[in-house]
């Protein structure tokens, strides 16, 4: 079973985590066109590679960001949302 490092609780088995999808910037709802908004809501980039993803550690209720290479299944680093530079 895969292991994942929670920035608050250390290395834990993957069964304790919930995947929260790719971290993507929301376009401005006021200024974006319908097409831009629909692309944001519905389209996902499935190409393998380095992704920033939301992950949730269930037992402690911690959301964090994991930088994961979806081709090699390597997690490069994890950090709390907004603390990328401190990580």
């Amino acid at each position: 079973m895969k292991l994942l490092q929670c920035p608050m609780n250390g290395t834990r088995p993957i069964s304790e985590f919930v995947f929260g999808g790719e971290l993507r910037a929301m376009p401005n709802p006021e200024t974006s066109t319908d097409k831009e908004w629909a692309a944001y809501v519905h389209n996902r980039n499935g190409a393998p590679g380095l992704k920033k993803e939301w992950w949730y550690h269930g037992p402690s209720g911690t959301w964090f960001i994991a930088e994961r290479n979806t081709l090699t299944e390597e997690v490069l680093r994890t950090y709390l949302f907004g603390q990328e530079t401190a990580a």
């Binding site: 079973m1 895969k2 292991l3 919930v18 929260g20 929301m26 709802p29 974006s32 319908d34 908004w37 629909a38 944001y40 809501v41 519905h42 939301w54 949730y56 209720g61 959301w63 299944e73 709390l80 949302f81 907004g82």
Partner: protein
């Protein structure tokens, strides 16, 4: 006739302990430590099993834990592998897969009709005409399979344990032992595992008639056994490789899940049989099998035999045979040049005749093919792969030892994602690129001499140290010199076939040629068409030859053919090892024991167990549900809603948070007021709904549906991080019990236990008050989900049962009746209230369920709002309506998910449907064409059988609202 010989140094048997057992009705003795196969072979038994397909007699082949032709049953257990399972006193064993015993097996005739049963025969012969297939399938299923499962198998709980270590070393040959010692000396915690009863790998049997291996073994084991950093597990096989170095080690009594920081795979090699006619007769065995019988069990493999070889290992085998007192009448070397090392001089010096450039053209069977009577030897052109039977002679013998090469035991390496390459020096697949933290050492790494394997173990251990950031040495391993350990193509064609490649599945050389002719000339296709490697040993002795044969057929180098995918498990693993206790905890409400005592039938809702209904004598489930619902309509009912998700949001930004998270408006909400809360996702799909209560300017209390509670809370936490608002968010689901008292007499009953005025003017529908009930502080909410007069009482969980009991007492004179989730569903349906997740699906938007009123579209922002602005511009595709069937409907009852049809077009589906005693009609919800939503409109539901039922759209609620008093 006993084949037991004098004591061998390091033998695995205990001659002090004699065990008695029976095989096929005949009594035998064994020593403690004997496997079933070794004990029978020692007693001179040669037919230990029948082959899977042709029911040919078979003896030992490898003695390497994958002799799947020798599988036995003791009446309780089945498919017990003879070369693995130790004899226990009193065992009564029989071979599986026979009718009438292993010697007189009535299915042995199948061998004589084998030319009628080529590979692919089943696929071609039985699939047409289709109507006969069930008949053939029945026969094929009976013929296939091996042992028969005893369904009265006693329940034995196998333990599961976990262990953690710095490095897991798999395999205890010289490379594995050295790797473990070097790692342990450097301070690493080492787990060392081996599938065999005793550690040592090839040192325990491959001795070439000399003492070097035995003394090296005792030297290494002396250090391993006393090393405090090494934990040794024998009789325990590494069953598979799972991500991040999780490896289950399966022993007799259970599985140990090992989580290691690094893994050294030192699993060695499997000896591969040369292929010649009748290479499957009892008495024809791999050279290493003969060595295992001699050195581990002190059993003579045969009395007067020959060795056929295509590498130097055959010479080592010959020396071991000679030392054990076996007459070796000839050594047949398939290589034109033979062997040039000192081993050859040694063998020749002991008077063994060596025939270079020759092969065994065929083994000669004794009577009934129960053993070997001799061998036909002829010259062999190893380049052209041609035997020349015109130039042949016959040798009498009672056994043949075969040594032609090896295949890496690389299953775990493959599973871990290792890229392998074919090495021309050793004619073997070896690791080319290993995954991070996985290392290989020893023969599996293509390293063969004893000195080099010890070096390779030390090298691997140092690489682990470097990987773990410790000080490490550069250890180099000498290059391999000498003849190749494996022959490139040790396969002898024969016009009459029966030259077996796969002993599990009875696959002969010609079967591969046929498969290729049929077009199955890719290794994965060939595997599936011929079933090579699909037997219980999973190709441990056949896949390598299959690859070589396919390469030859296609005229390609071996590395272009590739290998089939290796999957767990490495050995057949009894299902009892995998079965375990269900770790599936349920959450229980504070009143759970009360419900049990009241005869509740429970149902799973999310993580919770809730009462579905309460059994009543002589009443069916449906009758009980109608009665419970009727009690609510006529007087008063009580339900435990403790499983609802309950959250508190506090702080200056609490209202702002809810404004953004939910579709409705909360900034304008008054203290003491509750509001409906509709949760959407970013695409505008309805995800959940609940109730938001404002307890103070900056304190909100939220209830959400049971099954979505965890996901809703998770989303709240995530948006909170993104929005960075000043709030505290607390999940109080388990901290509060929830009791709902409902029905026309609810006000009277609740009024008896609280001082709060329950008058409409003081507590209107949608109001919440903090008050006391039966002396306990509670939050009291006036709700209207299942009837228009209902009180929801939120009470600290520890006091919930006290309040429940007080309400039951207060309601006694009004016939208060507990009801479960089934009646609740019917009651909310009668009220015309949809259930998110039941009447909606993963695409439903708020307009389709008529929830426009719950949308604060003029707010600056809420999750899903931008998408709704797009959706609102488009014509609706369907709308949820309330419907009734005609009075006294007695046709075929439609079910949930039956389609709503308009002519031949699907317009929607039924999402809820039930008979209601209060309404005396079948009522429900359905999605229909947006043109047909007005009361009185008719639509059609297609039932399971295809008949059409007419339904009429009506206005909710279905029931007359009670006024209360």
């Amino acid at each position: 006739m006993s084949n037991r010989i004098g004591k061998k140094p390091g033998e695995w048997i205990n001659r002090e302990a004699t065990l008695r057992f029976s095989y096929e009705g005949k009594d035998f003795t064994a020593y403690e430590g004997d496997t079933i196969s070794s004990a029978l072979w020692a007693a001179g038994e040669k037919v230990l099993g029948r082959s899977f397909k042709y029911h040919r007699p078979r003896g030992v082949l490898s003695s390497a834990n994958h002799d799947v032709n020798v599988m036995l049953t003791d009446g309780i257990d089945t498919n017990m592998r003879g070369d693995v399972i130790a004899v226990r006193d009193g065992m009564k064993l029989e071979a599986v897969n026979t009718i009438g015993g292993v010697k007189a097996d009535r299915n042995r005739f199948i061998d004589s009709i084998s030319p009628l049963l080529p590979v692919g025969f089943y696929y071609k012969a039985f699939h047409t005409p289709r109507r006969f297939f069930p008949f053939w399938e029945n026969i094929i299923r009976k013929a296939a399979g091996l042992g028969i499962v005893n369904f009265n198998f006693p329940r034995v709980v196998k333990r599961k344990s976990n262990t953690h270590c710095d490095v897991l070393v798999i395999g205890t040959g010289p490379a594995g032992l050295m790797a473990a010692l070097v790692a342990a000396d450097a301070g690493l915690e080492v787990t060392l595992a081996d599938e065999n009863q005793h550690a040592g790998g090839s040192l325990t049997y491959d001795r070439a008639g000399a003492s070097e291996a035995a003394s090296k073994l005792s030297e290494l084991m002396g250090r391993v056994k006393t090393h405090q950093n090494i934990s040794l597990h024998t009789a325990s096989y590494a069953a598979g490789y799972y991500t991040d170095h999780l490896i289950p080690i399966v022993g007799e009594n259970g599985i140990t899940k090992v989580r290691a920081k690094a893994v050294i795979v030192a699993t060695g090699v499997f000896e591969q049989p040369p292929v010649f006619r009748y290479n499957d007769l009892p008495g024809v065995m791999l050279g290493s099998s003969a060595q295992r019988l001699i050195h581990r069990y002190a059993v003579k493999p045969f009395h007067s035999g020959i060795v056929v070889t295509a590498n130097n290992h055959g010479y080592r085998v010959a020396l071991d045979l000679l030392q054990a007192g076996v007459k070796v009448s000839a050594l047949i070397d398939m290589r034109a040049l033979g062997e040039a090392s000192v081993l050859a001089e040694d063998v020749l010096g002991k008077g063994v005749v060596v025939h270079k450039g020759c092969c065994v053209y065929e083994a000669l069977p004794s009577k009934g093919q129960m053993g070997v009577a001799g061998a036909v030897i002829c010259t062999y052109d190893e380049v052209a792969n041609q035997a020349n039977p015109s130039n042949s002679f016959t040798l009498e013998c009672d056994g043949i030892a075969m040594s032609a090469g090896w295949a890496p035991a690389a299953a775990l390496l493959y599973q871990a994602g290792t890229q392998m390459r074919y090495d021309g020096t050793t004619q073997q697949f070896v690791p080319a690129k290993l995954p991070s933290g996985v290392f290989a050492a020893g023969k599996v790494n293509g390293v063969f001499s004893l000195e080099q394997r010890l070096q390779d173990g030390a090298r691997a251990a140092n690489e682990v140290l470097r990987y773990l950031g410790k000080n490490a040495l550069e250890v180099s391993v000498d290059r391999y010199v000498g003849s190749s350990p494996s022959h490139a193509y040790p396969i002898v064609p024969h016009p009459k076939a029966k030259n077996f490649v796969d002993f599990d599945e009875d696959i002969q050389l010609k079967d591969f040629v046929n498969a290729a002719q049929e077009g199955f000339d890719n290794i994965e296709l060939m595997k599936r068409f011929t079933t090579v490697g699909m037997g219980p040993s999973q190709g441990k002795h056949s896949n390598m030859n299959a690859i070589r044969i396919l390469a030859k057929i296609r005229g390609l180098p071996v590395e272009k053919i590739g290998t089939t995918t290796a999957r767990p498990f490495f050995h057949p693993t009894p299902i009892g090892h995998l079965a375990g206790r269900g770790f599936h905890p349920h959450r229980l409400t504070p009143m759970h024991a009360w419900h049990e005592a009241a005869g509740a039938e429970f149902t799973e809702v999310g993580a919770w167990l809730r009462a579905a209904y309460y059994h009543k004598p002589n009443l069916s489930k449906q009758e009980v549900i109608q009665e419970e619902a009727l009690a609510v309509r006529q007087s008063v009912g009580i339900i435990d809603g403790g499983s609802l998700g309950k959250f508190e949001v506090q702080g200056a930004d609490a209202a702002e948070f809810l404004e953004r998270f939910y579709a409705g408006k909360f900034a304008s909400q008054a203290v003491g007021e509750t509001r409906y809360a509709l949760m959407l996702d970013e695409s505008g799909v309805v995800v959940d709904d609940g109730v938001v209560s404002r307890l103070a300017e900056d304190v909100f209390y939220i209830t959400v549906s049971t099954s979505n509670a965890a996901a809703v809370y998770r989303e709240m936490q995530r948006w909170l991080q993104i929005w960075k608002l000043q709030i505290g968010l607390i999940n109080v689901t388990g901290a509060y019990g929830l009791i709902n008292v409902t029905g026309p007499n609810a006000r009277v009953v609740v009024g008896k236990v609280t001082k709060l005025s329950l008058a409409d003017s003081d507590l209107p529908c949608g109001g919440i008050r903090e008050t006391e009930i039966a002396g306990v502080a509670v939050r009291l909410v006036r709700v209207g989900f299942v009837s228009n007069l209902a009180y929801e009482i939120h009470v600290p969980a520890g006091n919930a049962l006290h309040v429940w009991n007080a309400l039951m007492t207060a309601g006694e004179s009004h016939g208060i009746r507990p009801f479960g989730t089934d009646a609740q569903r019917l009651l909310r349906l009668e009220m015309g209230n949809h259930l998110v997740g039941h009447d909606t699906d993963g695409l439903t938007n708020p307009y389709e369920i008529g929830a426009e009123w719950a949308l604060g579209m003029d707010k600056p922002f809420f999750v899903g709002q931008r998408s709704l602005k797009i959706i609102a511009k488009r014509p609706a595709k369907k709308r949820l309506v309330h419907f009734m069937l005609e009075a006294g409907f007695s046709g075929e009852m439609p079910f949930e998910c039956n389609l709503v049809m308009k002519q031949d077009e699907i317009k929607g589906r039924v999402t809820s449907i039930s008979f209601s005693r209060s309404v005396n009609r079948v009522i429900g919800f359905a999605y229909v064409d947006p043109a047909d939503v007005n009361p009185g409109a008719k639509f059609h539901i297609r039932t399971d059988s295809g008949s059409m039922v007419e339904a009429t759209v009506v206005k909710a609620p279905f029931v007359q609202l009670e006024r209360g008093e």
